[in-house]
């Protein structure tokens, strides 16, 4: 769970007081539960009219063991069974100092901030972090029948998580696939063949596992070809990568690193996520030199160690597709 805010530097202290209240002394009032449940149902239901979102939610649910693959919107039974008591007990069990991370970026007075945080959170006590029990994996191929104009395609396959020595090579590989208008999926699936308007791949990480998630939406007539060409591009990755592609990827990664550096909000986010995933904060130089050291050979060798395979595939549309 993530609480986030951006405010003027002079309001930081007042904002922290409020966040301490939210985290440590939430009201959780009884008389709002019906409205909250109605809203949760509404949000859950709205996904049924959003096939793009739906296919990615179902992809995730099949690709990761529960609870990792669960969607934050929950399900009907879960929402129906909510009571103020179950919410309060959830709060007591999971809102704990252990595992909590506070990150602040901007024009701060360190000593003042540290003293305030000590005052607000120093006496926060709680149980150890609960351990996570993972459920079984569901079947990796599925089709959701729906009378839509387009067929939605979601593909996921495992790769290395952040912190792994191959992490930057894995990022490089994803960006060869999908990182602008010269990337392979865009060129091969969209530009050359006109198969679909939207096609992309992105890297998603947990602490101990990570995936590449791909999306394509196509006409029902051309959906099979879109799936075939997309899978073919994923498999073709390990056959080799051009220097030109890696140069483009490096320029892209370095640009976004620099843009991110200029945003105080992004910096606060990176501080927290580095701490969460790695237990330390990476410096810009470290990331920059990892990007600089990307080579076609390095990325190809990574892809031989961790080839795109074991695909989870979920499609949504009027007709099922052949999945291999």
């Amino acid at each position: 769970m993530r609480f986030w805010g951006a405010t003027l530097a002079r309001n930081l202290s007042a904002a922290l007081e409020i966040y301490a209240d939210i985290l440590r002394r939430p009201h959780l009032p009884d008389d709002q539960i019906d409205a909250v449940k109605a809203l949760a149902f509404q949000e859950l239901q709205s996904i049924e009219d959003e096939p793009k979102q739906k296919v990615l939610i179902e992809l995730r649910r099949r690709h990761y063991p529960a609870p990792l693959g669960q969607d934050r919107r929950g399900n009907r039974e879960g929402i129906e069974s909510l009571s103020i008591d179950s919410i309060r007990s959830h709060y007591r069990q999971l809102f704990q100092p252990r595992g909590s991370i506070l990150s602040v970026a901007g024009n701060i007075d360190w000593k003042k901030l540290r003293d305030q945080v000590a005052r607000l959170f120093g006496d926060w006590k709680g149980d150890p972090e609960p351990t996570l029990t993972l459920g079984p994996l569901l079947t990796p191929h599925d089709h959701i029948e729906k009378d839509t104009t387009q067929t939605q395609i979601g593909i996921a396959y495992p790769t290395v998580p952040i912190g792994h020595e191959d992490y930057h090579a894995a990022q490089g590989a994803v960006n060869v696939l999908s990182g602008g208008m010269s990337a392979r999926l865009f060129t091969e699936v969209r530009e050359k063949r006109g198969l679909c308007y939207a096609v992309w791949a992105s890297y998603q990480t947990f602490k101990d596992r990570a995936s590449v998630v791909c999306y394509a939406g196509s006409t029902n007539e051309r959906a099979q070809e879109t799936l075939d060409v997309t899978l073919q591009e994923l498999k073709r990755l390990q056959e080799g990568i051009e220097l030109e592609e890696v140069d483009r990827v490096k320029a892209g990664l370095k640009s976004s690193l620099i843009m991110q550096e200029e945003s105080t909000s992004a910096r606060a986010g990176t501080l927290a996520s580095d701490w969460y995933y790695l237990g330390r904060v990476r410096g810009i130089d470290e990331i920059q030199s990892a990007i600089d050291s990307l080579t076609p050979q390095g990325i190809t060798e990574h892809l031989h160690r961790y080839p795109p395979q074991d695909f989870t595939i979920v499609t949504l549309g009027p007709k099922p597709l052949r999945m291999n």
Copy 2:
């Protein structure tokens, strides 16, 4: 049409050379037209599976006279009739120096930039800007029947455009409706009644006219109540506004002004849009003092001059709603 880029300061000169090529010497190759048309169809078709987008597109098409209300994705007939000749002739007719604006923000060398722009664009010649002939207004109430899980609701009504002396009061009024979790639509439609998960209002301006556009998506059962309550909140605006509401709005507007100031990309965008809409660039102080001078009385007086009325309403779902 807007071309946009963000790059390192040292790459500005090379990037400008490329933009000059794009604008003044585009390839427009014959052999890509089929793929481009296929993509345009795909994009057009994908809207049919996105009821939220669909209702807002249809709202706009009914609220503004053509071509102002036309969606950028065009329509089937228009895409079918595209040829490389019609594209080239469109290019010759509309890619003209008159009315073009170039804005650059960041760590620039002014003299060098000015000389390069003079070299790249100084001899660009063209016809005067074409004048716009507006079409007739369509009927303002419409329902699109579709077998969806939720009913989508779009409402638009006219207000004053940017540059009008009431502009900031109009912004203030929209933000009383929809500018965070204490705003009226969020509180009344979502939080108190749990009628819908998503509800918002936003301000949209052209040079000579502007609107407030509202969106709500609800279950089919509660859609009528959602529309009724939303319209009621719009009409209730002119009955008066609390000081507390205006204080919140002012804080919100000033925060986003400051956040925007920190983003070089946002600054480049504001420079261009100010020049486009106003023919001059506003200073931060000017905007800040306009926000500071907002009062409940000032906003209410504006709402008496320009009350929310003449609603365009478009709904999408299995059943039509009563629209007044």
